[in-house]
Symmetry: C2
Subunit: 424 residues, 2 copies
């Protein structure tokens, strides 16, 4: 399907039916953005991000502010039906990331006798930097009984080996795994939710929502153009994250190479998702000095202990006056550091979450961790094994959900679709 | 406590300890807002809203974009301890709404041996229009066994009578009721979450979190300066909402008058909260015409059926060519209209929510309804009785949480505190 360069703003003006009497496209288009007391109009913040490309958007894209992540179970046993849905999804994703309705008719311009092909809650909202990133879980290739559901078992990447159980894991299967995931990131949560909801609508009968997660504040920078945000421990998070501009490291650690195999994953990346509950009430009772020693950075500036500034190089060898390491042996920055992990770098783009409360008088809060890498077996798995064993932060965290996803290369144009290489 | 006019931006610059080497206050202050690819810098959007005043902010204040609502249970039996916490909360609320840390020391400037008096995740973020609005639930006056816990039973407003069970209600007690609520609204969710989290931290041992709810998109305008947003049915919501500028209606329907009694509620208002799950998957399969007949408005423009524009007067009498009412007898706008409810108006300031999924393949999504009024017995209760019996929309909604709150008048200055009148 050819993309029409018509945004939701203009689409509603063109729609005609149902909007009779509107002063003009601009009146509706301006919509919620119209008044100064309302949402800001920074164009970079609200612009579209290109959907088509050699790699998927939403990975090295400067991390947007809001997340709606969803994992689907595939219901159908019919491979063709699944492929058709992926084609339909791709067309809708191309439209929505451009700020258009999910379908060519739209939320309001259809006949009264049929359900609209868009759900409407994003009418008048700009593209808001929406990216939609797809991934395939291990169970799509073989289900838990070992069955090759769609003739894909031979194409399963070796790198998509199930994650091990890590020490301390308290994973809830109901909010873990899944056959297909979609990561929606945007600067307006209504736009991210709209996108996931419309994909679920399009997939009705073919897939069903297994679990989904909203995140409200990015916890990593993925570009040197971004300031480092803070997680719910109150610390800057992602200072040492792999960034889009570090092209050599990106090449080495992020994108799957042709020689890594399988073919259909070249230019793709593997995502690991972990919902990490934080015991924030306990953390909030910890002395500032303890917090800084656990993280290995100062809370204000975010400098590694012993350094002055956030981006000063970490010195893992330096000792204090007593001859003890300046950065404690169990500090998070030490255990997670590439030097402690055979040089492995992750590209993280996690989000803070608060899911109400836990029935025990505490906020159900934490970090929804998302990390992209060339091979989880050499990256996330050894790093997390190290962290799970040694990180002082473990006293304040609990991993409750886990996911592993093979994210294929980008959709290169209107004739391409999510998973074309896999199903070829 | 006198308010110091120091924002978090500047506070971190002044803090000194832990931020050595920072280029200056502005470098840290600009923080996440620094770069163009990041959050917008519209000052109205990020400015502070006055905390002190005759009425509480967060009611007629133009509805901000994000919500974190929390209900607390009071744990202590000691009235003085409760009063002291309310004083401490008020001081922290005055600070945080001004964009300052929760406590006078702050997140990073304290001694290393003590927990900080702010949790730090809002460092560098502007006030973001934060309002904090407090309310007292029926159980604060008498617990479920009828006990007068704090000598307040005689001061319980008659208007705070328990809500009845409405037809179709499926209320979950675990996410309903509570002794004290705080509504945090802001244009940045991290700022709203930070405020609730710090109040919970300050209240540790005195109160505990009973339930809490995040909302990501306001579903009503409370000012004529705001465009009407859309709810998750994809329709404009709140077109006919009571607005700050309608001063006569506000006087008549919103604020408690001295003659209404009790004294301590004069200038206050009553809030009703309802978590309304929407069956969005079913809705999305409904034809456009059915959706419009259920709501009684067009989906695009939001005009009442038979009218051209959103704000055209609703005509409840008009008939179509067949002699049937243009606005169906069970349409939501008809049943909720003041003319159908003895002229009663509510000031609504609800929010969309998505709380992951429901384990049955559906998004757990809907509307967190908040409405303020002078007396729920003459406003919410008869309107909701009418809606519960007749509204065609009921097929697509389910009320799962309910709360009722006496929100006292505003805090008038540094010596006043939340609930001073009640505990006088």
């Amino acid at each position: 399907m050819a993309e029409k360069k018509v945004s939701r703003r203009r689409a509603i003006g063109l729609a005609g039916a149902g909007v009779a009497g509107v002063v003009g496209a601009s009146a509706v288009g301006a919509s919620i953005l119209a008044d100064k007391s309302e949402k800001p109009t920074d164009t970079t913040f609200s612009d579209a991000i290109a959907f088509h490309g050699a790699t998927q958007a939403g990975i090295v894209t400067p991390a947007q502010d809001r997340l709606h992540f969803v994992a689907f179970d595939v219901l159908t046993k019919d491979r063709d039906q699944l492929v058709q849905m992926l084609k339909d999804w791709t067309a809708a994703a191309a439209r929505m990331t451009a700020g258009q309705d999910a379908g060519p008719i739209g939320a309001t311009a259809g006949i009264l006798e049929a359900p609209p092909d868009d759900t409407g809650e994003a009418i008048g909202l700009p593209p808001s930097g929406l990216t939609l990133t797809v991934g395939f879980g291990p169970t799509l290739f073989r289900d838990s009984s070992g069955k090759d559901r769609f003739g894909l078992a031979a194409r399963k990447p070796a790198a998509l080996a199930d994650l091990p159980h890590f020490p301390g894991d308290t994973i809830d299967p109901a909010i873990s795994g899944g056959d297909i995931c979609v990561q929606a990131c945007a600067n307006d949560p209504q736009v991210a939710v709209h996108a996931i909801r419309n994909l679920a609508r399009i997939g009705m009968g073919v897939v069903s929502v297994r679990w989904s997660q909203l995140g409200f504040g990015r916890t990593s920078s993925t570009s040197t153009s971004q300031a480092t945000p803070r997680n719910l421990f109150g610390f800057k998070d992602g200072t040492a994250n792999l960034k889009a501009e570090e092209t050599d490291l990106i090449k080495e650690h992020l994108w799957v190479r042709p020689e890594d195999g399988p073919d259909w994953m070249a230019g793709g990346s593997y995502a690991v998702t972990r919902k990490i509950r934080m015991m924030i009430e306990t953390w909030d009772r910890s002395p500032l000095g303890d917090q800084e020693n656990i993280i290995g950075r100062t809370k204000g500036e975010g400098a590694a202990l012993g350094q002055a500034k956030e981006f000063d190089e970490i010195d893992l060898v330096a000792k204090n006056g007593d001859g003890d390491p300046l950065i404690p042996v169990d500090a998070h920055v030490r255990i997670a550091h590439p030097d402690t992990n055979n040089g492995a770098h992750l590209l993280r783009r996690g989000y803070n979450f608060v899911d109400g409360s836990d029935g025990l008088g505490r906020l159900n809060a934490g970090l929804f961790f998302i990390a992209y890498q060339r091979d989880p077996r050499t990256h996330f798995v050894p790093i997390q094994t190290n962290l799970a064993r040694h990180d002082a932060m473990n006293e304040y965290t609990r991993h409750v959900s886990s996911g592993l996803w093979a994210c294929p290369p980008g959709v290169t144009g209107p004739d391409d679709f999510w998973g074309r290489g896999l199903f070829a």
